[in-house]
Symmetry: C2
Subunit: 127 residues, 2 copies
DNA sequence: AAACCTAGTATACAAAAAGATACCTATATG
DNA sequence: CATATAGGTATCTTTTTGTATACTAGGTTT
């Protein structure tokens, strides 16, 4: 990952990647999840991608990784306190994003999908 | 560009790409800029990339493209009214991004560059 | 008439991100 | 003693992004 050039690019750095938003969504929703639970929740993600995204989020101290030293292994992921502070930004992005989708629909018609993975990130990050 | 899966991904869709943030920064700062002025402001960008980013921003109705039918050609770019509505989100991202950088510095030391292209997007989008 | 200007497009190529698949660890279970 | 288990890594291929370079249009300047 490169150093950010402007402050809001830091946020982008955290969020970009095909799977980061979904992963965050599930962790914000469920609080604590095991690696395998995340895999089940996001069926199309490969282990490699899931690991990668989680490690990047961990680097940014958005996600905490708790290892249980047992066999078979058990690892739990959760949003850190610092990570929870992101919810305001996510909320702002979500709100404007919604109105932007409406705007796009006005401009181009209803072709765009507005469906989300269960579609309730807004509710989730508020709580 | 794919359809977004969650609302805040719409915002990401607008912002991702190596050059989108810089382009937006300059347009928010300068109000109206010609293609060539943008090129000068962002020396490393190629015409192809600049065109591409601008077209994507135009599609999202963030940037307006005004063509003067003269030769040699003249085309001016500016932020649309709809685009200006994004400034709140950018501001939120910027603010949290700044505090996040501080947090990262506390965690990992001062290795990370906090420099931005002139570093004043926050001032610019407030105005 | 040749060269120059601006705002591009076209084509080929390199680099980065993502995907597919196989493999590893060490214990518990059948 | 073979197999399953959970959470990964390693390696290779494909796809997506971004870069480099050349070319175009058509009026203006030299």
């Amino acid at each position: 990952m490169e150093a950010p050039h402007c402050k809001f690019e830091t946020v982008l750095e955290i969020l970009v990647g095909k799977w980061k938003p979904v992963v965050l969504f599930h962790l914000f929703s469920n609080g604590t999840m095991r690696f395998s639970e995340l895999q089940k929740a996001i069926p199309d993600i490969t282990k490699k991608m899931l690991t990668q995204q989680l490690r990047e989020l961990e680097y940014h101290d958005i996600v905490h990784r708790k290892i249980y030293h047992q066999i078979p292994p058990k690892v739990e992921y959760s949003i850190t306190e610092h990570g929870k502070g992101m919810s305001t930004v996510l909320q702002a992005m979500n709100d404007w994003g919604m109105s932007h989708l409406t705007h796009l629909n006005e401009l181009y018609g209803e072709e765009r999908s507005v469906e989300s993975f269960e579609g309730r990130l807004d509710e989730v990050i508020k709580g």
